[in-house]
């Protein structure tokens, strides 16, 4: 029997605010002593009242706009009631009927081309504390309780593990572009859950929905979905039925395990949070936030391939990370009046030498010493024949280490290209005299040997000769 996987995703993203969602405790919890960033509000002490963190609302609006959502001017927080020691109040403040963001979409790239994943809603809530199980006890650390959490829910538009992976990757790229979250799954700043069912491809009948939680790495997202598709297919093919349950992903054993039977929404007894007045946002504020959004990856990609004519693969490499894209953009802007310095040349330098040096030194682009303007100057020196390509790479290395201007380095290292035929002729003559064998081979028609002779000139000039001119000079001399 053929089944089509039908997958919806819920992704929780920790917002990178300074303070918590409803109190002024620091939102830092990673590597912090337990229960040191806590106060009466996030400890759930009687009488303590929450107050909404404005920046968390702003970050949610930014993300909602980037997800092409309709931002809801009127929105309300709600209590989600359940007993679990990770939340001392006995409820989580979340949003239910009136979330901040509705009806958006994200476009992902798949092997079959671009695909649109619809976003049903995105809402703001608070994170829970951390439990550590020790023997017959559980230790509760509430530093994370109350940290702003954005939940993004898709429609069931995802049909494979690869699409889910592409979607989560795209989300992480977006929140990093926006600067609203680190998106760091390994540190729990992004956590995924999937709802997965199998639809009978022939009858069109929908299967029972299974929830899989604890997907805390990109690998886990891919592997857990692939595993669950396989598991459900086997159960159905052997005549079994799928139960509506919550599974967890067991990373070390590479399988999903039953967590608990699902409690319906009614069990949470949602109701509007009486301690928080509703939000009725001014359209002007939403407009200001929209106007201040950075250019997003899809727009950059379109500009790089459309306006600059870059190949799609090159454009994707540049647009992947906001800091890289902005470095590239600044260099292109600095080269506006330089006919010799094309976006393609800049792209080659950024994704070539710059990336190579960054990865060798383990540095981040944000700490790079070369300015975009200096890179353009360097490319100009090559285009104007002042230095050749190999000398330029040498200069680039010094620039990368020191942040100095390329002109100074060229002069100091004496790398100016020898680009006058008069200067090169005596060197070429000497090379010809010293290598009679290759010269004979060339004269008898072995064209390729010319590269060896050019190499000898480059060696004699310590790389400073203009290779094209060197070749021409050699040809002229050997014809005589």
């Amino acid at each position: 029997m053929n089944y089509e996987p039908v997958i919806g995703m819920e992704v929780h993203i920790e917002l990178d605010t300074r303070s918590k969602m409803f109190c002024s405790c620091s939102a830092q919890f990673f590597g912090i002593e337990p229960n040191t960033n806590v106060c009466p509000v996030c400890l759930g002490m009687p009488g303590a009242l929450p107050v909404i963190n404005k920046r968390a609302v702003e970050f949610t609006i930014m993300t909602g706009l980037a997800l092409n959502c309709q931002i809801q001017r009127h929105s309300v927080f709600a209590r989600k009631n359940y007993f679990y020691p990770d939340l001392p109040k006995g409820y989580q403040i979340s949003q239910y009927e009136l979330p901040l963001c509705l009806n958006g979409y994200v476009d992902i790239q798949t092997e079959a081309g671009p695909k649109r994943i619809r976003v049903r809603r995105a809402h703001l809530e608070e994170d829970t504390g951390k439990l550590t199980h020790v023997g017959e006890h559980s230790l509760v650390d509430l530093n994370r309780a109350g940290v702003p959490l954005l939940e993004i829910v898709t429609e069931a538009d995802i049909h494979s593990a690869e699409e889910a992976y592409a979607y989560v990757t795209k989300l992480r790229q977006l929140v990093r572009y926006l600067g609203v979250s680190t998106g760091d799954m390994e540190k729990g700043a992004m956590r995924c859950e999937v709802n997965l069912s199998l639809k009978n491809a022939e009858s069109g009948e929908w299967g029972t929905k299974v929830e899989v939680k604890n997907l805390n790495s990109f690998r886990a997202v891919r592997n857990a979905i692939a595993y669950e598709i396989e598991r459900q297919t086997q159960v159905l093919n052997s005549g079994g039925t799928i139960e509506q349950v919550t599974m967890g992903w067991d990373e070390s054993n590479g399988r999903t395990v039953l967590q608990r039977t699902k409690e319906g929404d009614t069990g949470y007894r949602y109701f509007p949070e009486p301690d928080l007045p509703p939000l009725d946002l001014e359209q002007a504020w939403i407009d200001d936030i929209a106007a201040a959004l950075p250019e997003l990856p899809d727009a950059k990609l379109a500009r790089y391939t459309g306006d600059y004519g870059l190949p799609a693969a090159d454009a994707a490499v540049l647009a992947e990370d906001r800091a890289v894209a902005e470095f590239f953009d600044a260099a292109v802007a600095a080269a506006t009046n330089e006919v010799d310095v094309s976006p393609k040349l800049i792209s080659n330098w950024v994704s070539g030498e710059l990336f190579r040096r960054l990865s060798e030194s383990g540095a981040d682009i944000s700490a790079v010493k070369i300015t975009p303007e200096q890179l353009v100057s360097l490319i100009k020196l090559v285009a104007g024949n002042t230095i050749n390509q190999s000398a330029a790479k040498k200069v680039f290395g010094v620039m990368f280490d020191s942040g100095r201007a390329p002109q100074n380095i060229v002069e100091e290292l004496g790398l100016q290209q020898i680009s006058s035929a008069d200067a090169l002729r005596p060197i070429a003559q000497q090379v010809i005299a010293e290598h009679p064998g290759p010269v004979e081979q060339f004269k008898s028609g072995k064209e390729g040997i010319i590269n060896f002779l050019v190499g000898q000139i480059m060696r004699a000039t310590r790389g400073k000769a203009d290779p094209k001119l060197a070749e021409q000079t050699l040809r002229d001399l050997m014809q005589d």
Binding site: V38, V51, N81, T132, P277
Partner: protein, 95 residues
């Protein structure tokens, strides 16, 4: 009655309460009374009145994203029935 016996059992389960037979009957009656009393509101004509989540004449109460002092760990744990000196300690919960 507005509340069934099953409703009481469900609510008790969600509230982690174990009720005696007498209590089940008592709460079924009392909760029904509460609902029936509140149901009087449903006789009002609310045509054209927008639903509201809050009776207070307030909205958009927000604070700027600034960090203030938290409690000392010792104070945070002071009311806890049990701790290991850093964290709250509860009976093992593995769900």
């Amino acid at each position: 009655m507005a509340i069934s016996r099953q409703d009481v059992l469900t609510i008790a389960k969600l509230a982690r309460l174990t009720l005696t037979e007498d209590e089940i009957n008592m709460f079924q009656e009392q909760l029904s009374d509460v609902l029936e009393y509140a149901a009087q509101l449903q006789t009002l004509d609310t045509t054209g009145v927008p639903p509201t989540a809050s009776a207070l004449p307030l909205n958009n109460v927000m604070r700027s994203d600034e960090v203030a002092l938290s409690l000392d760990n010792e104070d945070a744990l002071a009311n806890a029935p049990d701790s290991d000196g850093r964290s709250f300690r509860v009976k093992a919960v593995l769900d």
